[in-house]
């Protein structure tokens, strides 16, 4: 059997998986209305494209797992895409770079990369990323902007997850959006002539936007250049804009779409500043080492940053390494580094709806429910978490702490607001915010695999929950939970699959034995927070307490939702009477997603393979930790490594601050230690207890009606109002930003009108006045002078005319007198 070169096959598979939805988009762009007249052809086309993407991604995942390109061949060109497979994540295997003293020489003379060293810890072979360039956008000296890919485990997993969830949601939408096939009457919009507005359906357009979204999202996870990531980042935002505003006749949908885009732009501005700072720091935005036009590898962000950090550490020791072409005279500014990292995190804050930019996500529920499931729960909003994970090695520890704190605040805000929301989709939206906060918290305290595992499992169960809520809304025609109840009798499939979702998000499972997917990911995050708490009790204590409280709140509001919707007596008989189970095309995806929500955390039977293990295998090492461990005295010299791997050295893996750190020492614990039974055991039981408490409370209040919710509200009305008003964020932003900006805008117009225009007009008027004055001068003096002299001459002429009498004698007399006068004058004068 011929050897398959995975470093070429996997990119090819994923690029096709990426381009298929683009093709569907292109077709639908021009033919959607035409296809709409032919039933669901548009939907099937888009679904087929996504199914193709999913199969290709799955194939790529298979290749990746079966045969990661571990240390096979040296960097070389690969075919027509000029792609180059490089085994280096970060430093050292770059043949052109001078070998600096930081690289560990293996016995066989090879250089050991960070990736390999990390893999030694987890005891697994860890494949490096596959990088390559599709085409170059622009190149200015050392700055290059190009369309590149960067494929590692995270990429492959994300591609698989995105296309799988997207496939389920496409199929579901075939049923859910069926009403768009005909003329739609929108009861929420008043037509000019009274009555609900009637408009043509937009079935094809819906799938057109969905296809564009899948293309953009896959592009986002494939991209290996931060500017490219930024491009797709904005493109998914655009798709989100279109889909939130899908019911564009509704003013609320328009406002929500615009709010989402503008709030995201605030984050993107931070992203842009981060990109600038990164450009100033390392002079490149390419993540991996990319070959230039001559085939020589050019160091990417990770490598450059590594070199800079090594340089700084070495400088502290007094020996500077022979650096490769360092920018800006080789200076390394820690401030710039932090600024770059914070800036990039700002983008993540916007996209992943973290505090303080979380306000757009609940409003985004104006879009159709499948959109909420796909974009505003499973994939796009997770892009921020993805980017933190992607850029993770390059985050300085201080910024990781910021990420953890922001995640914690978000987690609490989301969970508390979800307690009192009554719109079923908004409960889920706030739950999404809260869970995204969880992921950020996990990443921030060093739990790379934990946070990203939660990203994947959350995608499955949150998509499931949203689709279930869509099924309910489809059946009852309202979002308000107080009007529902007892629906499990009418729609059992929806009810039980949703129960699976609730259990998964609550993290149901028996510690040490088995659980639903959410159990594994949530426990992993909590274990890591607990570890962090042990290292840094001052901050970590609060983080851990908040995370535990969040787990309890999650269980509470999810079961509150389930009980209010499916249990108890029906609240509105009319609605209950008309409720019905959804068609198979909608129930099918629910069942598939429910299955995934159960098993996503499990091992593949017969092997040791699981998502968690796969992520653990590819866990990157913080560049900062790496260098601190190597070069700072007392923090684990290279020699300590053997003891570190056995886990006996408590010192290893701690992150000590580099010299000149502006904040107090931040210690990011190594993630593998969180798998210790000593950590994972107690944390598992604590999480179990918290979730159980939440579940029992919800059961008591909403399931068994032992406690009336109204009485709890009356006990603390201020808290209730505060939460009901969503912590007053919207009002605050309206007053603090929106209105001042609009006032400032009016101010500029006034400046234009009152100052600049008046100045210009005034100058013109002044000129005219000057001209008038000159005109007056002309008339009054200059003209007058000439006129007067002319008049005088005229008068003189008139006077002289009298001399002309016609009498010859008189003429002769005058002639004689004249002659005499001349004679006298001449004789006297001369």
């Amino acid at each position: 059997m011929p050897e398959i070169d995975v470093s070429k096959t996997i990119p090819m598979l994923l690029i096709w998986a990426w381009l298929l939805p683009l093709g569907a988009f292109g077709v639908l762009l021009f033919f959607a209305p035409w296809l709409d007249r032919r039933g669901r052809a548009a939907g099937w086309l888009a679904t087929g494209a996504v199914a193709g993407s999913f199969l290709l991604s799955l194939l790529a995942l298979g290749f990746w797992v079966a045969k990661g390109p571990t240390g096979a061949e040296p960097a070389g060109h690969s075919g027509q895409t000029a792609g180059v497979s490089s085994q280096t994540r970060a430093p050292s295997e770059n043949p052109t770079r001078p070998i600096t003293d930081h690289t560990v020489h293996q016995p066989d003379g090879r250089l050991e990369s960070i990736a390999e060293r990390a893999s030694h810890q987890s005891g697994l072979a860890r494949p490096g990323p596959i990088v390559g360039r599709l085409f170059s956008w622009a190149r200015f000296g050392r700055y290059e902007i190009s369309l590149t890919y960067y494929i590692d485990t995270l990429t492959v997993l994300m591609c698989m997850m995105v296309s799988l969830v997207a496939l389920c949601i496409h199929i579901y939408s075939l049923g859910y959006m069926a009403e768009e096939l005909h003329e739609v009457s929108d009861p929420l919009v008043q037509a000019a002539g009274g009555g609900p507005l009637r408009r043509p359906g937009r079935f094809g357009r819906f799938f057109q936007y969905l296809s564009l979204f899948v293309f953009s999202m896959l592009g986002l996870v494939l991209a290996g250049h931060l500017v490219m990531i930024f491009m797709f980042w904005e493109l998914v935002g655009l798709c989100s804009y279109f889909l939130i505003g899908f019911y564009r006749e509704r003013p609320s949908a328009q406002a929500a779409a615009m709010k989402a885009f503008v709030v995201n732009r605030v984050g993107d501005m931070g992203f842009l500043v981060g990109l600038m700072a990164l450009g100033g720091l390392v002079g490149t935005w390419s993540l991996g080492d990319m070959p230039d036009s001559l085939g020589q590898p050019v160091a990417g962000v990770f490598t450059q940053l590594h070199e800079l950090l090594v340089g700084q550490s070495a400088a502290a020791e007094g020996s500077l390494p022979s650096g490769l072409g360092m920018p800006s005279g080789g200076g390394f500014s820690r401030t710039l580094w932090i600024l770059a990292a914070v800036g990039i995190f700002c983008g993540c804050v916007g996209k992943s709806a973290q505090f303080p930019l979380h306000v757009w996500l609940p409003d985004a529920m104006e879009g159709p429910t499948p959109v909420s499931a796909l974009i505003h729960a499973a994939t796009m909003v997770a892009a921020g978490v993805y980017l933190v994970g992607r850029f993770y090695p390059a985050f300085p520890p201080e910024v990781l702490l910021v990420i953890a704190v922001v995640g914690t605040i978000t987690l609490l805000i989301g969970a508390t607001i979800a307690l009192v929301a009554t719109d079923i989709k908004r409960v889920l939206a706030y739950s999404t915010i809260s869970q995204l906060g969880y992921m950020m918290l996990g990443l921030g305290v060093g739990g790379w695999a934990a946070g990203l595992l939660h990203l994947v499992t959350h995608a499955f169960f949150k998509a499931l929950l949203f689709l279930c809520s869509g099924s309910v809304i489809h059946a009852v025609g309202t979002n308000e939970m107080p009007q529902m109840g007892a629906l499990r009798r009418k729609m059992p499939w929806t009810a039980w699959t949703m129960l699976v979702g609730c259990l998964a998000i609550a993290g149901a499972g028996l510690p040490g034995l088995v659980g639903l997917s959410g159990f594994y990911s949530k426990e992993a995050i909590l274990a890591q927070v607990y570890l962090f708490c042990r290292e840094q009790p001052a901050v970590g204590g609060w983080l851990f307490a908040a995370a535990l409280a969040g787990a309890g709140l999650t269980a509470f509001y999810m079961f509150r939702l389930w009980y209010m919707t499916f249990a108890g007596p029906p609240k509105d008989e009319h609605i209950f009477h008309h409720a019905h189970e959804s068609p198979p095309v909608m129930v099918g995806p629910l069942v598939v997603l429910a299955g995934l929500a159960i098993v996503a955390g499990w091992r593949v039977p017969g092997t040791s393979l699981s998502l968690q293990q796969l992520l653990d295998r590819d866990r990157p090492v913080l560049l900062a930790a790496e260098n601190a461990a190597r070069y700072l005295p007392g923090v684990g010299q290279p020699g300590d490594r053997t003891s570190a791997e056995s886990g006996t050295s408590a010192e290893y893996g701690k992150m000590q601050p580099l010299a000149g750190s502006p904040v107090w020492p931040v210690v990011i614990p190594e993630e593998h230690r969180s798998h210790d039974p000593g950590v994972a055991g107690p944390v598992g039981w604590m999480a179990f207890a918290a979730a159980l408490a939440g579940f029992l409370l919800a059961t008591a209040i909403y399931g068994m009606r032992k406690l009336a919710p109204e009485r709890i509200v009356q006990a603390a009305p201020a808290v209730y109002t505060f939460l009901k008003n969503k912590w007053y964020f919207d009002q605050l932003y309206e007053a603090a930003f929106v209105r001042p900006v609009l006032r400032l805008a009016d101010g500029t117009v006034d400046v234009d009108r009152q100052v600049l225009d008046r100045t210009a007009d005034g100058m013109a008027r002044g000129l005219i006045r000057l001209a008038r004055m000159e005109d007056w001068l002309d008339r009054r003096w200059v003209d007058a002078l000439f006129n007067r002299s002319a008049e005088a001459a005229y008068r003189l002429g008139l006077g002289l005319r009298r001399l002309q009498t016609g009498e010859l004698r008189q003429y002769v007399l005058w002639a004689v007198l004249g002659a005499v006068a001349i004679f006298v004058l001449v004789s006297l004068g001369w």
Binding site: F135, S136, W137, A138, R139, F140, G141, R142, Y143, I145, V189, Q190, A191, A192, L197, R199, V227, F230, M231, W233, E234, L235, L238, Y241, G245, R248, E249, R250, Q254, A257, M258, F261, V262, R265, V266, D268, M269, L272, V273, L275, M276, A277, G279, G280, G283, P327, S328, G329, V741, L742, L744, A745, D746, T748, V749, D752, L756, D757, A760, A764
Partner: protein, 654 residues
């Protein structure tokens, strides 16, 4: 072999520049009532010009530029026409195209075709309109192609009058106010430019340039006139000086020039000859000569002579040029003519005004102000960047407050052109970065790209506003809505163009903006960070506009019955712009492959100048006290394409 002076390039460039004018002359003979024929003739004239510029594009790819020996792709002007015009003052008919002008020339001819197509709705005095329109196109093309300052100035003024009449006669209700305002503002600008031009002219002296530099600048004798072809016997050793003395008696008189390339070489003190003492430039230099510091003058060009308040000729010239060009860009605070002119101008004229006319300012900065007066650009970089930044923010805020659709688009132009000014102004190749030009190059290329992108999106937006106005006869944003529903294809094209203007990645607006901001970081992190806030404001006003005009349940304004779908003609105008917005956004290399080498050369020369200038700076008193600057580097070799080219002067002449 460069195409200078060849029959082909002369004919081509002349056809491009004067084709529209010739067509306009032809139109004068046409009967006035055959309006359709007149429009068709004008349209075909613009199309011929477009084909010509397309061929130019092809030629530029084909022909190696002058002095190309080191593998660099086309950088200097490659297709050149040079004929004497007013020999007494050294004025020449000197046209040329390089990577900086080519995209703008293409943009001009392309937008002219579309604007002419959009002119079908003009119903009054069609003949006069078309004549003026074509004259305007000649002026615009001439500005972008002229390499002689005097010629540039003439074309610059030629654009002014047709525009005045086009606004003043075919405009809206306040057209007279707008036309006069436009005229006065831009006239004030061009007067300042005229003063600067004369200052530079009378300070210039071609005798100072070395022969190779003269050849590179096409500054040799314009044509082998009779008296030059052998009447005067010349010694071989004298050949390098043969440009200084066309007649034996005048060899001690300076030889002034309007040649932009030569002026740039003089302004940057590039490859200056070792001057004999008799060429002493001023008091300072002669003192210096007498004190025996030979060659110091080589770092002090003729334009470095102090003029007023201790500032040099080029500093003052830069200030005047800057003022002149910024009026055109327009930059805050001299921008107020723009909204009025746009609101009153008919749609096709707005398209040309925003799409092309504003670019004259940016082009002037990049082509004239910076290369010729680097000292001014270097010292006033803060001013240029500040004005660019203020324009970006101010324009965005003002756009946010508008109720009139067209006024909003006009203010968005102010904001977008602010990016151009900022991108050009970031003088970041200083000693702090080892004179690396990468960031500056990125900013300037971004600015050039932004000009093209803005030309596409703003012309598109003005056209779209015109399409609505033609139907419902108002532009009140609060009385619109639901147009996406009423006119679906119009809505789709509009959204592409508006998002392009917003700077959405994948569309053309993004490329320029992001490159300018990324480049600005190296000049000042604060400027770049503050500039980045503009992306929020831009998103705000564009999305708000889309919401008010295109989304919503239904149109709520006068004349709802008139909202019919776009006609084929309208689609033919809008669709190419939308397609181009996508193509340039996805593959900006199309522009950069032409522009980058030329911008690189310009920036590299300026960076080399900065190196010399900053090396001379520590002894800032070297004007007054030249003896202290003995150790200053002398006569830097230019490491650009000019260095070892082998084109002899005689080759250039013939």
């Amino acid at each position: 072999m460069p195409l200078e002076g060849s029959w082909e390039s002369t004919a081509l460039l002349t056809l491009i520049v004067f084709g529209p004018a010739i067509a306009a002359l032809g139109l004068l003979l046409a009967p006035k009532r055959r309006t359709r024929a007149i429009k068709l003739l004008s349209l075909s004239a613009t199309m011929v010009v477009l084909v010509g510029t397309g061929y130019l594009c092809f030629l530029l790819k084909q022909s190696p530029p002058i002095g190309q020996t080191d593998g660099m792709s086309a950088a200097g002007p490659a297709v050149v026409v040079r004929l004497p015009w007013i020999p007494a003052f050294g004025v020449e008919y000197f046209l040329g195209v390089d990577g900086i002008s080519l995209p703008l020339v293409l943009l001009t001819s392309f937008l002219s075709v579309l604007a002419m197509l959009a002119s079908w709705t003009i119903q009054r005095h069609e003949k006069a309109y078309c004549v003026l329109f074509l004259l305007l196109e000649t002026g615009l093309l001439g500005v972008f192609l002229a390499l002689d300052f005097f010629l540039f100035y003439v074309f610059w003024e030629v654009t002014l009058l047709p525009m005045y009449f086009l606004i003043g006669l075919w405009g809206g209700p306040r057209r007279e106010y707008a036309a006069v305002k436009f005229f006065l503002f831009t006239l004030a600008g061009s007067v300042l430019m005229l003063v600067a031009m004369l200052m530079l002219y009378f300070s210039s002296d071609l005798r100072l340039l070395s022969p190779s530099e003269l050849a590179a600048c096409h500054a040799g004798e314009a044509s082998p006139s009779e008296d030059d072809s052998g009447v005067e016997p010349r010694k071989p050793g004298e050949s390098s000086e043969r440009f200084g003395d066309t007649s034996a008696g005048s060899s001690d008189r300076p030889r002034h020039t309007f040649n932009l390339l030569a002026l740039a070489a003089l302004g940057q003190s590039r490859n200056l000859k070792q001057m004999p003492a008799s060429f002493a430039l001023g008091k300072a230099e002669s003192k210096e000569k007498s004190s025996g510091v030979e060659g110091q003058a080589a770092t002090l060009g003729p334009l470095d002579r102090p003029l007023l308040w201790g500032k040099s000729v080029q500093w003052w010239a830069f200030l005047l040029l800057l003022a002149g060009f910024l009026v055109k860009v327009p930059s805050v605070p001299v921008h107020t003519w723009l909204p009025d002119a746009h609101v009153e101008a008919p749609t096709p004229i707005s398209m040309l005004l925003a799409g092309v006319l504003l670019k004259m300012g940016g082009y002037g900065l990049l082509r004239i102000a910076y290369p010729i007066c680097p000292a001014g650009g270097y010292e006033l970089a803060w001013l240029v960047c500040g004005l660019g930044l203020v324009s970006m923010i101010y324009g965005a805020f003002a756009a946010l407050a508008q109720k009139d659709f067209k006024r909003l688009v006009a203010y968005s132009s102010v904001s977008h052109m602010g990016y151009v000014v900022l991108g050009l102004g970031v003088w970041s190749a200083t000693a702090a970065v080892g004179y690396r030009i990468d960031a500056w190059l990125m900013g300037s290329s971004g600015a050039l790209f932004q000009m093209i992108a803005h030309g596409i999106t703003s012309a598109g937006m003005f056209f779209l506003v015109g399409v609505i106005y033609d139907r419902v006869h108002h532009r009140d944003l609060d009385q619109m809505g639901g147009l996406l529903h009423r006119m679906p294809s119009f809505g789709a094209v509009s959204i592409v163009i508006f998002f392009g203007a917003m700077g959405l990645p994948g569309l053309c607006g993004f490329v320029g903006e992001v490159l300018v901001l990324l480049g600005a970081w190296h000049y000042s992190a604060w400027v770049a960070a503050v500039g980045a806030t503009v992306v929020i404001l831009t998103a705000g006003y564009i999305l708000w506009t889309i919401q008010r005009v295109y989304l919503g349940a239904e149109y709520r304004g006068p004349h709802p019955e008139a909202l019919e779908p776009m006609s084929c003609r309208e689609m033919a105008v809008a669709l190419p712009l939308a397609v181009l917005a996508v193509v340039l956004g996805v593959y900006p290399q199309t522009v950069f492959s032409y522009a980058e080498p030329s911008v690189r050369q310009t920036i590299q020369q300026l960076a080399d100048w900065t190196r010399r200038y900053e090396a001379a700076q520590p002894s800032a008193a070297n004007l007054a006290n030249p003896a202290s600057s003995e150790t200053q580097p002398v006569n830097f070799q230019q490491p650009s394409v000019f260095q070892n080219h082998s084109v002899t002067v005689a080759d250039v002449d013939r």
